[in-house]
């Protein structure tokens, strides 16, 4: 258990961020439910936030992003909220129109 004696570093944060990101991607790629895709997007954004905060944290590097990172993370959170609202609205609208939220049915944009 020697890794418990070591202080963690930026890499660990990046790794967790990458994992959340990829989970989100896979979630987006495999869910047929529109809301599931939305949830995947949330996970992706979370991974991104984690990266920003990791780079901004003074614990890991002297040359950190500092306040910039924090603020970008804040904006991301806010934008995610906005995006969730819009996407939900779209999903509800789609549901009302097609009586389904299966994105595989949503192929009207097919060329």
């Amino acid at each position: 258990m020697s890794f418990l004696y070591e202080p963690i570093g930026l890499s660990h944060y990046l790794a967790v961020g990458a994992f959340l990101f990829v989970c989100g991607i896979v979630c987006m790629a495999t869910k047929r439910n529109a809301l599931g895709i939305l949830i995947g997007i949330e996970l992706v954004l979370n991974g991104a936030i984690l990266n920003f905060i990791g780079f901004a944290s003074p614990y890991f590097r002297d040359e950190n992003l500092g306040l910039d990172g924090h603020l970008i993370a804040l904006f991301v959170i806010v934008l995610a909220a906005a995006e969730a609202a819009v996407a939900l609205a779209i999903a509800l609208n789609f549901y009302n129109n097609h009586a389904t939220i299966d994105v595989d049915r949503a192929s009207e944009l097919k060329g």
């Binding site: 991607i25 790629a29 060329g111």
Partner: protein
């Protein structure tokens, strides 16, 4: 008879070739061999009988020249061996590859064993396969309209394959190098394929045959790797020395080294290839090859000290053992053997219990001089796991032949365990005794199946009244395999054949345990527990078949004792199963089994072995024969056997316990055992499906990638030609512009299909292109920097 010794190889060669002659005769002349090929049976039986006579005659010659007992392992003498050269396949830069022979007491014993059992089974088959003389209605092969299949009988074909098998098996025993061993190894596999798939119309039979062959090929792959390691480093595949040319055994265990195991120079040299190259490249002066060789020889002790080449010897040993795992149905390649029971019962008796599957054990015994302790530990582990898996599945099987098949697997595991623990003679002895009683048991089960026309034990019961001879001989077989005997604590040890060999094995494992407590404890527990399980499942089978009340009245009424030509081999084998291992023969001046085997003990296998990489010590075999070991072990063994028999009787004879109830309360375990630990399912899902998936990938890659690329290139060429055509014909800018417009339109139409409208695909495309872009950029930067 000593004067005949020089003719021994020729005698044995004739014994090998006689069945081949019978095979060729039946293959080419089946329609002339009497009515419906009936004479084929006689021909094959005569051939193998002649081989038996020759083998026993050779044994007489051999043991007159080298009396058994004269060589004792206490004396530490090199065993007598006859090696020689048959004929050359190819000459490669001064090295010969050819057919050689290697004859020692082990060869002789195996010859007598194989030919004798084969003769019994040939006699038995002439009656058992009687149906095949006329047209056959195969109930198990259904046509598409649900009718049973009618086909001409294949009596002659059966004996043809049986003859080929005898030839290959005897050749395998006689062969004097690994290449020849491999050749016959494959040939017995082929015969096994023919015989398992004898009822070619049954899909189950041909599938089982394919499974057996392919699983065996997996083992053969390992054997090829082992052979490569040996050939690449030692430049020979011969076992013994032939005409001044050193064989593998003397290179590994040289006389100058007092037959102790040493990594041969060739292996060190091969493993030190990089160092040698550095020597050659970094020498201050250019070296001639001779100078380089001298330098290498000077460095040799240093490299050997650094264990260079040790890994290579391990690979060689493991590779050879891998072949044995396949052939002897050891874990994890044991799955083919139970399915192989699709073949006719005499085949199961000869090929899949007594001889071919024992070939793996034989080869381990033969290659013993080159096995390092590390390899032997792997052998022991494989044997131990196999022993438990086989025994556990046999507990719940209901098909009488499958019980015997799993029991075979388990007993083979015993042999491997013994060999892996350093018990060379114990393993070989169990091989011999097991061949006797297992072929007896299989022939007995064949007799039962012949009488009641089913394999399922729940539909038998009470048969001893109808078939006393079969029941009696099978009881002898069950007692023998359970290892019933009076241990030496009570004075003179005396028992059935299985008692002696199993006792030896347990003693050796016990001695092994005192040197290596951790491994040894597991092994001993498994071996003793396995003995108990063996007794239980064998008597479960016997009680279910012969004891109690008949459970299927119709079948019981039809049952009858088999004809004499089937009973006589049973009785002969039963006699063998009782007394083949008795030491009392020495009172009459005959060679006993244990002394004969002892005579073949390879040079050097009389001292403890220590592993260089892992801490492991293999005790030499006489350490197991001290009173401190034999008395507890004898008691444990007898106790285990009796406990097993008593348990079986509680369940199936006295009906004190209800087996249904037990199986219900341990349902998950019962189910796992019933489904054979899910090995088939797992292998199917992982290996078969995986390979097929890979195969389809390869085929798709061809069609979708390479072909399209080529077609695309061709179209590009055509397009370019058309383009230049336009240019040449001065169709001018207009044509070009139109062409571009059309192409753009086409491109657009083509790209349109990319717009699937599926969100998920978009996501995938984005991610995939991100990955691709990253890879491109990193390659680019790498190319720039480096």
């Amino acid at each position: 008879m000593q004067t005949l010794l020089p003719y021994l190889p020729s005698l044995l060669a004739i014994a090998v070739l006689l069945p081949l002659g019978s095979f060729c005769a039946i293959l080419l002349g089946a329609q002339w061999l009497g009515a419906k090929g009936k004479f084929a049976g006689t021909l094959a039986t005569t051939a193998v009988l002649a081989s038996t006579v020759l083998s026993f005659f050779s044994a007489g010659i051999w043991f007159t020249a080298h009396p058994a007992g004269a060589v004792d392992h206490a004396a530490h003498e090199v065993p007598p061996v006859i090696t020689g050269h048959g004929y050359t396949l190819a000459t490669l830069a001064g090295t010969n590859v050819g057919i050689n022979y290697y004859i020692d007491a082990l060869t002789i014993v195996m010859f007598c064993l194989v030919t004798f059992i084969a003769t019994c089974i040939h006699f038995y088959s002439t009656s058992y396969m009687h149906d095949e003389l006329d047209d056959v209605v195969d109930q198990e092969a259904l046509l598409e309209d649900g009718e049973s299949l009618h086909r001409p009988g294949r009596y002659a074909r059966f004996f043809q394959s049986l003859s080929l098998f005898c030839f290959s098996m005897l050749g395998l025993v006689l062969s004097g190098n690994y290449l020849m061993t491999f050749v016959f190894w494959e040939l017995v596999g082929l015969c096994s394929w023919f015989l398992i798939g004898f009822y070619v119309e049954r899909t189950t039979a041909s599938t089982a045959a394919n499974k057996a062959f392919i699983v065996n090929r997996i083992g053969d792959f390992g054997m090829l790797v082992g052979m490569m390691a040996l050939w690449g480093s030692l430049g020979t595949l011969n076992f013994g020395d032939i005409d001044q040319q050193q064989g593998i055994f003397s290179q590994v265990r040289g006389e100058e080294n007092h037959y102790a195991l040493k990594v041969p120079d060739g292996m060190v040299r091969l493993a030190a290839g990089r160092q040698i190259e550095a020597l050659a490249l970094h020498a201050t002066e250019p070296l001639t090859t001779e100078q380089l060789a001298a330098k290498v020889n000077a460095e040799m002790p240093v490299w050997r000290e650094a264990n260079l080449g040790y890994g290579l010897l391990i690979i060689a040993g493991l590779g050879i053992f891998c072949g044995c795992v396949g052939k002897s149905a050891q874990f994890p390649l044991h799955v083919w053997l139970p399915d192989a029971m699709e073949g006719p019962t005499p085949v199961s008796a000869l090929v899949h219990s007594a001889t071919m599957v024992a070939a793996g054990v034989f080869l381990v015994a033969r290659s013993y001089p080159i096995f390092l302790p590390e390899v032997l530990l792997v052998v022991a582990c494989a044997g131990c796991i196999t022993l438990l898996i086989g025994a556990s599945i046999a507990l719940v099987a209901t098909d009488i032949k499958r019980v015997l098949a799993y029991s075979t697997i388990s007993q083979l595991g015993y042999m491997m365990l013994a060999l892996g623990c350093g018990g060379w003679a114990a393993g070989v002895m169990h091989l011999v005794t097991h061949a006797c009683f297992k072929s007896l048991l299989f022939l007995g089960s064949g007799s039962v199946i012949h009488a009641v026309q089913t394999n399922e034990m729940p539909q038998m019961g009470g048969l001893w009244r109808k078939m006393p001879w079969t029941a009696g001989t099978m009881l002898v077989g069950c007692l023998a395999i359970a290892g019933i005997g009076i241990p030496s604590v009570f004075g003179l040890p005396i028992g059935l054949a299985g008692y002696y060999s199993k006792d030896l094995i347990l003693e050796q494992v016990y001695a092994f345990r005192s040197e290596n407590p951790l491994w040894g404890s597991f092994f001993f527990a498994a071996a003793a527990g396995g003995a108990c399980l063996t007794a239980f499942y064998m008597f479960r089978m016997w009680f279910l078949t012969f004891w109690g009340e008949p459970r299927a009245a119709k079948r019981f009424d039809r049952a009858h004792e088999s004809p004499r030509v089937m009973v006589v081999p049973l009785v002969l084998l039963a006699i063998l199963a009782v007394c083949v291992a008795w030491p009392a023969f020495s009172w009459f001046g005959l060679p006993t089994l244990s002394r004969s085997i002892e005579q073949a003990r390879p040079a050097g296998i009389w001292a403890d072995m220590h592993g260089a990489l892992w801490h492991i010590t293999l005790p030499e075999e006489s350490k197991g024969h001290t009173a401190a070991v034999t008395s507890p072990v004898g008691l444990i063994e007898l106790g285990a056997a009796l406990a097993g028999i008593a348990l079986a009787a509680l369940f199936y004879a006295w009906k004190v316990l209800d087996p249904e109830d037990v199986s219900r309360s341990f349902h998950p375990l019962y189910h796992t055992l019933y489904r054979k630990w899910y090995f088939d399912e797992i292998y199917q899902a992982v290996f078969v499906r995986g390979t097929m998936a890979l195969a389809h990938c390869a085929s798709l890659l061809d069609r979708l990638l390479i072909d399209r690329l080529v077609d695309g290139l061709a179209r590009l060429g055509v397009g370019l030609a058309r383009l230049s055509d336009l240019w040449l014909d001065r169709q001018g800018i207009d044509g070009l512009v139109n062409w571009f417009a059309e192409q753009t339109y086409r491109l657009g139409s083509a790209l349109r299909t990319l717009q699937t409208g599926s969100l998920r695909q978009y996501v995938m495309l984005i991610v995939a292109s991100t990955v691709a872009m990253f890879l491109l950029i990193s390659f680019w930067t790498l190319a720039l920097t480096g």
